[in-house]
């Protein structure tokens, strides 16, 4: 089901190959992840971590999240309130990490139809984005059921918790 307009998130649009070192710089790896979040993407956009708001959406091009397996790359986006990343394609490890941490990663060939600051609502199960600013509807690849289940539980840990404690 589509979200209401008041739940729309603002788009932060970046290009191809946004890598894990940009999202989660190695220099902050040993400290608290909240500190690292304040440096997310600072090498390409110093304003992002300072001004991103809860419910905002990050939009990338090809191979978003390529590089390291560090899941902080997805985690810091969650800490900053980002609820979904939309990209033409994802680094495979980042894609798994995002769902495991309760963050939607939506594959969308038409990211060019989203500009920075556009207001978007999402329907991941149906594979639909509504761009309220431009008055358009954009298709995304549907998310596989088992990943919808994981993200629906709030991530892999709560998902496993239910399974383990349910079985006990």
């Amino acid at each position: 089901m589509s979200e209401n307009a008041e739940n729309a998130g603002r788009a932060w649009v970046y290009g191809d190959n946004v890598d894990t070192d940009l999202l989660a710089p190695g220099a902050y790896m040993k400290g608290p992840v909240e500190t690292m979040a304040a440096h997310c993407l600072e090498a390409i956009d110093p304003d992002f971590a300072k001004t991103a708001k809860a419910g905002d959406i990050v939009v990338g091009g090809r191979n978003f999240g390529m590089g390291s397996s560090r899941e902080q790359a997805a985690q810091v986006l969650g800490i900053l309130g980002i609820r979904a990343v939309i990209a033409k394609s994802f680094g495979g490890i980042f894609y798994r990490n995002a769902f495991n941490l309760g963050l939607f990663a939506l594959v969308c060939p038409d990211v060019d139809k989203i500009a920075s600051g556009d207001l978007l609502t999402l329907d991941p199960a149906a594979g639909k984005i509504e761009n309220l600013t431009q008055g358009s509807v954009i298709a995304t690849e549907p998310v596989p059921d088992h990943l919808l289940n994981i993200v629906g539980a709030g991530g892999l840990v709560p998902y496993l918790e239910k399974k383990i404690k349910g079985a006990a």
Binding site: G26, R62, E71, R96, E161
Partner: protein, 428 residues
Amino acid sequence: MTARTLTLAEKIIARASGREAVRPGEIVTCKVDLAMIHDSGGPRRVKPVLERLGVGVWDPKRVVVVSDHYVPAFDAESAAILKLTREWARDQQIENFYDQQGICHVVLPERGHLRPGMFVVGGDSHSPTGGAFGAYMFGVGATDMAGVLVTGETWIRVPETIRLQWDGALPDGVSAKDMMLKLCATLGMDGGDYQAVEYSGTTIAALAMTERMTLSNMAAELGAQTGLIAGDETTADYIRQAGGDPGAFVGVQGDADAACRVEHRFDAAALDPQVAAPHSPANSGSVLDADKARIDQAYIGACTGAKLNDLQMAARVLKGRKVASGTRLFVAPASTRITAQAAADGTLAALTGAGAILLPSGCGACAGYGAGVLAEGEVCISSTARNFKGRMGAKSSQVYLGSPYTVAASAVMGRIADPRDFLAEGAA
């Protein structure tokens, strides 16, 4: 029903998922033969999850823990991470714990933990390195790994296979690293599309295990899930020397007529040394066309570029020569065992004689940790796998990538240089 022909990846995944056959695109659950974690993404991140779930690891004998990122400790925080790793390995009764013995992707096969046909999960993106041993090994994040440690299983979307066939003999001064930079430039960093890369051909058959490891390691830079090489006698010999059992999967290959997504062919004999310009391994081209940038630092290190043969390549160039004034050369051997071997065969003496500064065995500056990181505006050429913006230090630093031969030649010249000029001359 007629038996389907299968790729090597499909054969391993079919076995691990308990099926006769699997098809690309299917999502299957596999039993994990071995799980490898390190100090950065391992215990400190999985411990809270296991505590929340109230369970321990599913099988301590199938878990390998390696401290390689924060080594040796350089401040109180890194010391605390190493301590936590040590205590967790002890509490979980994990016997295969390697504390500061080298980088996980090198230590794992060095200590005989890998063999063909295994299904292995590693808590690090360069885990495809294990593919060089005919194991389906791939990297996952910490929460995914916690799921593996709790259940002994993980899900996988059965990949298509991308065949990369290399034939011909590599010219002197050209190495597996150059093959990979060429592949990054040709296919791009998403050319692997999270499918299984499989390397084959006469070039691969002739390569030593350490060089094959470089190919599989940098399957990560192609965006592949793993980089497989079918196990052969070279694989079996290495495993036996490491004290392991090569097992029954040696010699198992993908069926010749198994469907793959695409096959690319390359001529090794025509390959020049390659250099990747900042900030991507895909910005690679022949050293002949590379800009001959002045360098502040040359770095030989990491799982990709500091195995024994990598150090030997550098030593061939550096023996009897000196690192240029105004340039520093750091060498961080990939494991303590490699350091011992390089000391015994004269390799280390050639490196230090040229002015190389030895750093501890660990991930180090490659990932922006520890000693050897770069200041604003500095330029480095490195034998590592990634030159992303800011990865090796300050945001405005510039990192070029090359083979150990090329890094060593560049250290001598103080600018990016073609190593073949040095090898042809012999020792100065």
